[in-house]
């Protein structure tokens, strides 16, 4: 597992970077927010990304993907992360898409993933609840047997891209207590199901999220993804993979935030000199740089660990998410401080990175959560 990009991967990085430069400047994110865009991202760009092969890059060819891996997917996500592109990779490709793929359910993957790879289908994972924080075993939404099928009742929060999703992967409890890993089952619920209510939420980073209420939503036995009562392991694997993808996006964002900051240090004049001449700022900039380099190594290693199905993936994921959470927040906080007063204004872009850094940090567990998980996995 070499921690270096192959020539093909370099080419993907360059193509994505060019695309971002031409079609996805950060001004686009600002406009989506300011116009309160009903979609929240660009359907046309999403379609283009699918045509370039990026949406399906890590899905097998049998479902319309490119048959490459997370090493390649993460290269794309990192470049898109530089401009905070809000297209639905996380919801559709990484969360629900990986849950479908990892379930091994051929009928469902054949029904849904080709549409995903074409850029036509949006999927969402409805997992998080008001009390669950980052604990995937914390599920209160109930799935009660009803005839041959089930009836789902509960409320999910911050379901990414929920207001556009064509189908939801819903985590619900078929057995066990509210915090037990055993007894959780995943269901595939199409949009418009009777009793399903989706309400769009507004977050600080402008990313799409929704409240999803399930009020006795009836599904057949064939809606079960994976096994009954055995959804936790599948969910955990999908979320670990999604976390790696999120970290790649974060890596791009933190590097861009830092690039903006360094450029500012070179040009902002105070006391008759560029403020980048001050050693107090130089050393802090060097500290940020160190953290970014370490984060990069962790992301590259984690992506390759997914691709070779590393049994120690969970540890690598926690390492990567902890580092990326801290490094992105550091790069953004230092960025605003070094920009000074203008860094606090909405007019400057650095604030967008600060908001995204916070949102990404508090998705799938912050650094403290992942240090605790690392300690548990390491046996202490």
């Amino acid at each position: 597992m070499d921690l270096v990009l192959s020539e093909d991967q370099e080419l993907i990085a360059k193509t994505t970077a060019d695309f971002v430069k031409q079609k996805s400047p950060i001004a686009r994110v600002r406009e989506l927010r300011d116009t309160n865009d009903p979609v929240g991202f660009s359907r046309a760009l999403w379609k283009e990304m699918a045509e370039l092969g990026w949406v399906g890059i890590a899905f097998p060819e049998s479902v319309g993907g490119a048959g490459l891996g997370f090493a390649e997917l993460c290269v794309v996500l990192e470049e898109l992360g530089r401009s905070l592109a809000p297209e639905p990779f996380l919801s559709t490709v990484l969360l629900a898409g990986q849950a479908l793929l990892l379930s091994g359910d051929e009928a469902k993957t054949a029904a849904w993933l080709p549409g995903v790879c074409k850029g036509d289908t949006i999927l969402a994972l409805a997992q998080q609840e008001a009390k669950s924080r980052y604990d995937l075993a914390s599920v209160e939404t109930r799935a009660e047997r009803a005839g041959a099928g089930f009836r789902l009742t509960g409320e999910k929060i911050q379901v990414l891209d929920g207001h556009l999703a064509d189908a939801f992967v819903v985590a619900a409890r078929t057995a066990g207590g509210p915090r037990e890993a055993a007894g959780i089952t995943l269901f595939l619920v199409p949009k418009g199901a009777s009793g399903l209510a989706v309400t769009r939420q507004t977050r600080l980073d402008g990313r799409n999220a929704a409240l999803v209420r399930l009020d006795g939503v009836g599904v057949g036995a064939d809606a079960v993804l994976g096994g009954v009562d055995a959804g936790h392991a599948l969910l955990a694997r999908a979320v670990d993979r999604a976390t790696v993808g999120l970290c790649a996006e974060m890596l791009g964002g933190m590097n861009q935030a830092f690039a903006l900051t360094v450029a500012h240090l070179k040009t902002r004049m105070q006391f008759g000199v560029p403020i980048g001449t001050f050693q107090a700022l130089k050393h802090r900039a060097a500290n940020v740089f160190i953290e970014l380099e370490l984060a990069k190594s962790a992301v590259m290693a984690a992506a390759r660990a997914v691709d070779r199905d590393d049994p120690d993936l969970a540890k690598g994921v926690s390492l990567t998410k902890a580092r990326c959470s801290d490094a992105y927040v550091l790069a953004a906080n230092e960025g605003v401080q070094m920009f000074g007063g203008v860094g606090m204004t909405d007019e400057y872009d650095i604030g967008f990175y600060m908001k995204r850094a916070r949102a990404a940090e508090l998705t799938f567990g912050d650094a403290a959560f992942h240090r605790a998980r690392w300690a548990t996995l390491a046996g202490y």
Binding site: V273, T277, E293, A298, A378
Partner: protein, 400 residues
């Protein structure tokens, strides 16, 4: 069979035939081994002596140096095979020290033919041990401000001054030093790199005791020491160029030494097990949640650093120039080691307070000393502050 495979087969056979049985399985760290030199004591260790002689004969003490200078004339790929085959038998390196890692490569790059022929074979055979004379009492981070004078005496220089942190100077036969040959030039432009025989009259050495106890460091004094001009390496007043090349090498070595240390917790197994021994556990978790969090942070930092070192190596193997990631090695590698030592003392608690004598086991005593010694990591070989200046200037391009 490829040439490299043939080389592997030959090398394996030679090692099987010539690697003394008593040394197999010993492995050996970079700091514990045969340093050689006139003052080296074999203490009756005939196997190690034989191993050194056999390897030197075949050029395996300095595998990539040219054969005419006592090296093995191996390509980097062949040298890698040799290292792998030695590891397979867990044979210790036949010879270690600053001759092989520092002055040898420097002479290959900057020395003249006569210097190479005089010094390199004697280094490769382990006959001469070297030390480094760079820092001075008044020249630490500002190394170019060094004041050791070299006055022109015709066919020789007369050298006077003091060098500090000259590691193992009390065991060394020769010293490579930076001296001021032109006091009127800009400070970097009046420095010369010169080789000095430690047996020359006027050279004296005093060991330095550190806050952690005895140390390999020394202070070396020069009082009107006559050194032939032929001992100047590269050109007079061009020593700074040589020094910088050598310093870069030293920083990489320091970083690698720390980068490889991750994960181990001593005789009590992993760091987690060592922490459980001292802190106890509840339901399998360390009883102290704060130290548990700090231990996880440390382990993750160590792992991320190791991955970054690996990334640099993989990039080099793929033919890329060293990237910006290599600039962080010295500063981060040393600082993560310092946090590690600090945490180990806190985990040991009152048992981390031992200096010597009863009531403390050897590992606890080592914990105390290692922590104190580690405080120097961010000072020696270029302070963390200087390293951060280098990152800001060279990597980030921030203005002076």
């Amino acid at each position: 069979m490829s040439d490299l495979d043939r080389f592997r087969t030959e090398t394996r056979a030679w090692l099987e035939a010539n690697g003394p049985a008593a040394l197999r399985g010993k492995g050996g760290s970079e700091l514990e081994g045969v340093w050689g030199g006139r003052k080296w004591s074999w203490d009756g260790n005939t196997d190690q002596k034989l191993w050194l002689e056999r390897c030197a004969e075949r050029g395996f003490t300095a595998p990539t140096w040219p054969r005419e200078y006592g090296g093995g004339g191996l390509t980097p790929e062949q040298a890698k095979v040799l290292a792998e085959e030695m590891r397979r038998l867990r044979l210790p390196p036949p010879l270690i020290g600053f001759g092989l890692t520092m002055i040898g490569p420097t002479l290959l790059a900057f020395g003249n033919e006569e210097q190479k022929r005089e010094h390199l074979p004697r280094i490769a055979r382990g006959e001469i041990r070297w030390c480094q004379g760079y820092s001075e009492p008044g020249a630490g981070s500002d190394l170019a401000g060094l004041q050791t004078r070299a006055v022109d005496g015709g066919d020789h220089y007369v050298i006077s001054g003091t060098k500090v942190w000259t590691s193992y100077a009390n065991y060394a036969d020769w010293i490579f030093a930076l001296v001021r040959t032109d006091p009127n030039a800009k400070k970097q432009e009046g420095i010369t790199f010169i080789l000095i025989d430690m047996e020359t009259p006027g050279v004296s050495v005093r060991p330095i005791k550190l806050i952690s106890g005895s140390s390999p460091f020394c202070e070396t004094h020069f009082e009107n020491v006559r050194v032939p001009k032929k001992n100047v390496v590269h050109k007079v007043n061009a020593g700074w160029t040589v020094a910088k090349a050598l310093l870069g090498h030293e920083r990489t070595m320091v970083a690698e030494a720390f980068g490889s240390g991750g994960g181990a917790g001593g005789k009590r197994g992993t760091l987690g097990e060592r922490a459980k021994h001292h802190l106890g556990s509840e339901h399998g978790r360390l009883a102290d949640p704060i130290l548990r969090d700090q231990l996880a942070q440390l382990e993750m930092d160590t792992r991320a650093f190791a991955l970054t070192m690996q990334r640099a190596k993989d990039a080099a193997r793929a033919g890329h120039q060293p990237g910006p990631e290599s600039s962080i090695f010295k500063v981060y590698g040393t600082e993560v080691n310092m946090r590690r030592q600090e945490l180990l003392v806190r985990i040991a608690g009152p048992q981390g307070l031992g200096w010597e004598g009863p009531g403390f086991d050897p590992e606890e005593l080592a914990t105390t000393r290692d922590w104190l010694r580690s405080r120097g990591n961010s000072i020696e070989g270029g302070t963390s502050e200087v390293q951060r200046n280098v990152i800001a200037k060279r990597v980030l391009g921030l203005p002076d």
